[in-house]
């Protein structure tokens, strides 16, 4: 460290620190305060209502549906994006794949580059009952009775949205895992090969333990993403039909800006905050404990 005039360092730090405090921390803290008030977007007046907004949130008929939908999104994404995505990465990086592996990897990653709204709009077409790709394909192989109204069916709408996200983001996790695997020192794998370990043994006993940390990071961002879920649902079903595909993020948005219940929206925000921050803290604890 070099010696400097005392106030100089703060010139570098202050703009960024102020931005973060002003536009991230103050709103998040205000959101806590708002969650105890009834307030409207049209006026500045607030009425203190205690835990009313929380009671409304937790006793709402929609609440269990949202929790189920967000949780299903998390579980399926963990299995497909992290689980299957990692298997693809291991297969791509096994000695058996040829020169095409980078091409495959980039193709799988491609959907992650498209904006969520573009993908959402594309899949409303893919799932469209009349012109959609899915029903057209099903008809073309003569299975007319298997056609569905996909996003229009309250039993399956949320799963159609989840499937869309798997299409979009599995390749993203694969890319992260491929890079983690490539960072494993070559000697480890060569030593294992000399010891006679086959590709599967190498993957399970050497590669996976050495990429545990990246695997944890991928799982965490996937779970957090599941509870922040918004655009995917908003751009396809807006939570419908009925509220069958409702999720916390869309519920928050609709209450704040369509139903003018900003206090209830703020309480929903607090719930999202608690879930996502808890998961982040778990990640820090697990990483610091050195278990991963």
């Amino acid at each position: 460290m070099m010696k400097r005039k005392k106030f100089v360092p703060y010139y570098y730090i202050i703009p960024g620190l102020l931005m973060v405090l002003f536009f991230v921390y103050i709103p998040v803290i205000s959101n806590f305060v708002y969650s105890f008030f009834r307030l409207s977007s049209y006026s500045a007046g607030k009425v203190f209502v205690g835990f009313d907004n929380y009671i409304k949130l937790f006793t709402s008929d929609i609440f269990p549906i949202m929790i189920k939908n967000n949780t299903m999104y998390a579980v399926i994404s963990l299995i497909v994006q992290v689980g299957f995505g990692t298997i693809i990465a291991l297969l791509l990086e096994s000695k058996l794949t040829g020169r095409l592996r980078n091409v495959y990897r980039n193709i799988y990653f491609l959907p992650a580059l498209i904006s969520l709204t573009a993908v959402g709009l594309l899949f409303t077409f893919v799932y469209s009952p009349q012109v959609g790709l899915l029903n057209s394909l099903i008809r073309s192989v003569g299975l007319e009775n298997l056609t569905q109204s996909w996003l229009g069916d309250s039993k399956i709408a949320i799963y159609c949205i989840i499937a869309m996200s798997q299409w979009q983001f599995t390749g993203y996790i694969t890319l992260l895992m491929v890079v983690a695997i490539q960072n494993i020192p070559k000697d480890y794998l060569e030593a294992a090969a000399i010891d006679g370990a086959g590709p599967i043994k190498r993957a399970i006993h050497i590669m996976i333990p050495l990429v545990k940390e990246q695997l944890l990071v991928c799982s965490i961002i996937t779970i957090i993403g599941a509870f922040k879920l918004f655009t995917e649902v908003y751009s396809t079903t807006s939570g419908g039909p009925g509220n069958s595909s409702q999720v916390l993020g869309v519920f928050l948005y609709q209450n704040a800006f369509l139903h003018d219940k900003m206090g209830l929206a703020a309480a929903t925000g607090v719930l999202i905050f608690v879930v996502t921050v808890t998961i982040s803290i778990i990640q820090i604890i697990v990483t610091k404990s050195g278990k991963v």
Partner: protein, 284 residues
């Protein structure tokens, strides 16, 4: 002899495995490409053709769909996205670089607390700030202006960007700076003439990953931008859907146009892109 036979058997087994594996990869490629190819094909059709059979190839390639999509709104949304993205990126990179320089190169009082506050911002999600930000922006008279999204974008991206830059700055050997200091450089000259040139790779990575966020961001844009004239692409696309109500194939062309920039940038700057993503491992 025997070992030779075993060897041949082994290579044959490997050959079959290789074939199966490539088959598996190609099936995955098809499942990724199928919706995209379907999109491209139908974006070049007339509406009637789409309704008759969305699996058929177009009779005549209607590039006019693209011209129409561009003219009827996408051009304006594109321009807005360019303005919002470039201002956001320049400020995100500059402010974060200064902050990272400040906390890696000086023994500031409260350095650790500042560091924890800034990085802690990474754990806070946009949803939680949405309602108060909306109120704040209205009070500040910024609601429904470019800065209604630019300021929150900058603030929400600083933590992640500082995280990446800090790690990079710490890896730069201090000797260079010591020498410059002896030559009479002040701390800003050291930052500008030594740190910045060395850090170009990490700046590129940060810029691309943040561009991917800003270009595609929807939640804030949807709430804070009301006027069509200033909407960015993701929200413009949703509005475009409303405007093109019955004109589906033009909307499909619009989806293609909106998706091209990030794909192009990935193909051109793959190395920086992947480094930024993996160093930070933060989705969206």
């Amino acid at each position: 002899m025997l070992s030779n036979a075993v060897h041949i058997k082994k290579t044959r087994k490997q050959g079959i495995l290789k074939l199966l594996l490539n088959l598996f990869f190609i099936v995955l490629v098809i499942s990724i490409f199928l919706p995209i190819i379907w999109l491209l094909i139908n974006s070049l059709k007339s509406n009637n053709e789409l309704f008759n059979n969305s699996l058929a190839l177009p009779e005549k390639l209607l590039f006019s769909n693209y011209v129409e999509a561009w003219g009827k709104g996408l051009f304006a949304y594109f321009k807005n996205s360019l303005i919002v993205s470039s201002i956001s990126l320049i400020l995100i990179i500059t402010i974060s670089a200064l902050l990272a320089y400040g906390i890696t190169r000086f023994n500031v009082k409260g350095k650790n607390i500042i560091f924890i506050i800034v990085l802690g911002g990474m754990a806070l999600s946009e949803q939680v700030a949405l309602v108060p930000l909306y109120k704040m922006l209205q009070t500040l008279n910024l609601y429904n202006t470019y800065f209604a999204v630019i300021l929150p974008y900058i603030a929400f991206r600083i933590p992640f960007t500082v995280f990446l830059m800090r790690a990079y700055f710490l890896s730069i050997p201090k000797e260079l700076e010591e020498a410059a200091y002896i030559d009479g450089y002040n701390s800003f000259q050291i930052f500008y003439k030594i740190i910045v040139p060395i850090s170009k790779p990490i700046f590129a990575s940060c810029a691309i990953v943040n561009l991917n966020f800003v270009w595609n961001e929807f939640l804030f844009a949807n709430v804070f931008l009301e006027d069509k004239k200033i909407m960015t692409i993701p929200i413009g696309l949703m509005t475009f859907q409303g405007d093109m109500r019955a004109n589906y194939t033009v909307l499909l062309a619009g989806i293609v146009i909106a998706s091209i920039p990030m794909i192009l940038i990935f193909l051109l700057m793959q190395k920086q892109f992947i480094r930024g993503l993996t160093a930070g491992s933060v989705k969206g």
